[in-house]
Symmetry: C2
């Protein structure tokens, strides 16, 4: 068996134009952050589930026949951890799901939607909205990421505090297994206690246990009104206290609770001077972008939110606050939040960390992690923001003022990670809250994962993919590591 | 290795008084419905997780040494499918978690509680309530079932429409594996994307993959007010339409949506004539018990509920309706719902089915299943009620009028199941929505489960429990089946 022969077989299954290994394939061979450029045996784009199964079957047969081939499933290629791009061996088949992009069905009474894995997230949202319903998964890449990738990576986003991660939104899956069988697990059921929950095992497994080809997802009624506030607090302790108060007052109406330390906003002011802050950055140590969704009316939304702010001022949790008076003002608040990433890029290369700890531990964790980082890398600047409502922080690090960013990133990455992730571990946290592991964080998994859990993971991988055909370089560390 | 020698080792670990094989052990050897009476090698009650691990280790060693021993984990022994009682071989060790019953910690700001597996469900609820918080899992057996059993069986209950099943309420687990290691997976994290979700794999696995020894569960703010209504509808179509309208009006405030067909209520009237129906049973073909929880006030709860009823009358979905004017009246509504099971028992032995289909399919399913049943067993009486909000029906069957109930149950069970479960399968439903599989429904799993899924389940079982030590007669059908 040779790569050329396998390519022929692949072309036979999907058509020559959909199994390519020449021309510019960088859209599939390179991750979008351009951290790594791979080289694929072929980029294969099946038209349907049966073709996915056939592709897996011929690859499995080729592997059994001695070719060192493997498969890297790919969705929108918007991941952050090198989980869906090939290495440079020329022996990995990129299996792109993008051609399978249909909405298969909406069941309004069952509040569910069934979509192909390659359906773009925004299209799922819009299909739901067209029926007056809400698909609440929302994240920066929603215009190009696809639901299969969201599921494989268990994406988070901005509404997790109310609706949960992608995992919590999934009712059923269709999956092609590592030996090329089709598991028909699509389901609109809310309750089904007939054996091991393979759905949750596949979700978050980053294409290493099976290839998700379709999914049934939950829908919700649209809220009647959404209202936002921008709030200044004097410490992260106050932010956590405010979160508890907001949950007590607003219950499931609390649909967003983002926090940014003032340094993050100063960076936005520096690089995007046209962006106007709702409140002077000097007014607080940290800021909260709070979103409330009401099931009744605009008026009630505003009244409920103002009631919360009154109580928060009374409890001395706030130093200042502004309620958006229009959708446009609310959008501007979200824009500032989303621009932190761009401001960081403008400031120069930097280190990203996507961590979580129990929300109650956030103030103590941040203090300890900053101290540890200063000790390891004096002058390094923490840009800390994220989804406080879920205990999830993007605890990013810029080079010291005046230092060369590239040199800093190249030489200090491991030290920064060790300083921060050791603190995360000390607070029973996670070194990857919503981005996954991919190829990029495998060594962290080896270091921080409970060894008994790691042992079970390996056993499951071997049981479901004995040829190690599916995404073998992602997620699980090499056994020797 | 002999049973006697193993008993000695077990007594050495937990103390002689906590590893027994004499006296009356029926509380552990018999299920509470008294369907089967087993005989255990020993009933072992460890005091802590380390003892659980040690028990598993000596049992594994005994099995390796040739003794045909296995372990049946047991919580409150309130299950309905023979999932936690031993067979009559005298070679199964019942591992009771009941001595491990503490609340380990509550984290109010993180909205989480960590409890031992043997903690009684009601005690979890009360520990949360003492902090002004809600643990929403609620079911008939809550005074005696334990959280470890709820997790192993993924229990449902009456609030699933809002808060999900036990699975959705769990943040982390501590588990003893089949080789006697301890997986420290307790976690208060809302987000953690570092590998396969072993938590969800263990939940619902009925003690066949590991022994849950502790769990961290989600808590919620208490609602400000809870309000109930008893509603008459002219068909199940109307009930499903009402559900959609209620979800649209009440959003996450809809915390209960139970449906009962009139025959079920007539049985309650017949055997409990003292129970007063809120609405004459002749007023509808079916009745809905709707529960609404408001985050603001009693007054608003009532106004919102009345607003829904107005809209429902206008849409001609209701034939009559009554709103509970007090907690006592609301309790009486729930009492009627809970008394259906007792009325069925008073009527005589009968067949229980715990099925689910997509809510949108319920009317068509019920019609088809009743027809199929009449064809198979003319005169058999369907007593249909359940959690319509989750698509979950207890589609029970009584003997024909005048027929001998025991004879009916003994001779007709398989026929009734085939008629009903074939219909369930035709509507993409589940033959066990919330009760699990256990020993009782293994043959149904063999018949109705997707064969690819069943193959993956077997592979996982072999990978995580290669000795087949943990609950070997539950859940998975014998490979030959």
């Amino acid at each position: 068996m040779t790569p050329e022969l396998l390519l022929e077989q692949l072309q036979h299954i999907v058509g020559a134009e959909h199994a390519r290994n020449d021309g510019d394939l960088s859209a599939w061979e390179q991750d979008w952050r351009q951290l790594a450029q791979g080289r694929a045996l072929a980029v294969v784009s099946p038209a349907n589930t049966e073709q996915v199964a056939a592709v897996v079957q011929v690859c499995a047969a080729a592997k059994k026949a001695g070719l060192g081939v493997s498969i890297v499933p790919q969705g929108g290629n918007t991941g952050l951890v090198l989980g869906s791009t090939p290495d440079d061996s020329g022996l990995q088949v990129v299996l792109s799901l993008r051609r399978m992009s249909s909405v298969r069905a909406i069941d309004r009474h069952n509040l569910s939607i069934t979509v192909d894995a390659g359906c773009i997230l925004q299209n799922v949202q819009e299909a739901a909205a067209a029926q007056g319903l809400l698909f609440p998964l929302s994240l920066a890449a929603e215009g190009s990421c696809v639901i299969g990738g969201n599921l494989a990576a268990n994406a988070g986003g901005t509404q997790v505090v109310r609706y949960g991660n992608t995992r919590e939104l999934c009712l059923g899956l269709e999956v092609v297994t590592a030996d090329g069988q089709i598991w028909h697990g699509l389901s609109g059921l809310r309750k089904n206690n007939t054996g091991y929950d393979l759905r949750h095992l596949m979700i978050g497994s980053e294409g290493t246990l099976g290839i998700i080809t379709a999914a049934t997802m939950k829908l919700y009624p649209q809220p009647a009104a959404v209202c936002c506030a921008w709030l200044a607090v004097d410490s992260l302790e106050s932010a956590v206290g405010l979160l508890a108060l907001a949950q007590q007052h607003l219950h499931s109406g609390l649909t967003g609770f983002e926090t940014m330390e003032s340094d993050a906003l100063r960076l936005v002011e520096k690089h995007m001077p046209h962006m106007r802050m709702p409140i002077d950055v000097a007014a607080g140590q940290a800021f909260v972008l709070l979103e409330y969704s009401d099931d009744e009316s605009e008026d009630r939304a505003r009244a409920r939110l103002e009631g919360l702010l009154e109580a928060a001022f009374e409890a001395e949790l706030l130093t200042d606050g502004a309620v958006a008076q229009s959708l446009e003002q609310a959008q501007r608040m979200w824009d500032i939040r989303e621009h932190i990433t761009l401001a960081q890029a403008a400031e120069g290369l930097h280190l990203k960390h996507d961590i979580s700890v129990p929300t109650s531990s956030i103030p103590a964790f941040v203090q300890r992690a900053k101290e540890a980082l200063q000790q390891a890398l004096p002058g390094a600047r923490v840009i800390n923001f994220g989804h406080l409502g879920d205990g999830n922080l993007h605890f990013n690090v810029q080079a010291p003022e005046g230092a060369d960013p590239r040199q800093f990133v190249d030489t200090c990455q491991r030290q920064a990670e060790a300083a921060i992730y050791d603190c995360v571990a000390a607070f029973d946290g996670s070194f990857s809250a919503e981005h996954g592991v991919g190829r990029l964080k495998r060594h962290d998994l080896a270091r921080y994962k409970d060894p008994v859990a790691l042992g079970m993971m390996r056993a499951i991988k071997t049981a479901l993919d004995p040829l190690n055909l599916l995404n073998p370089h992602a997620l699980l560390p090499d056994a020797a590591a």
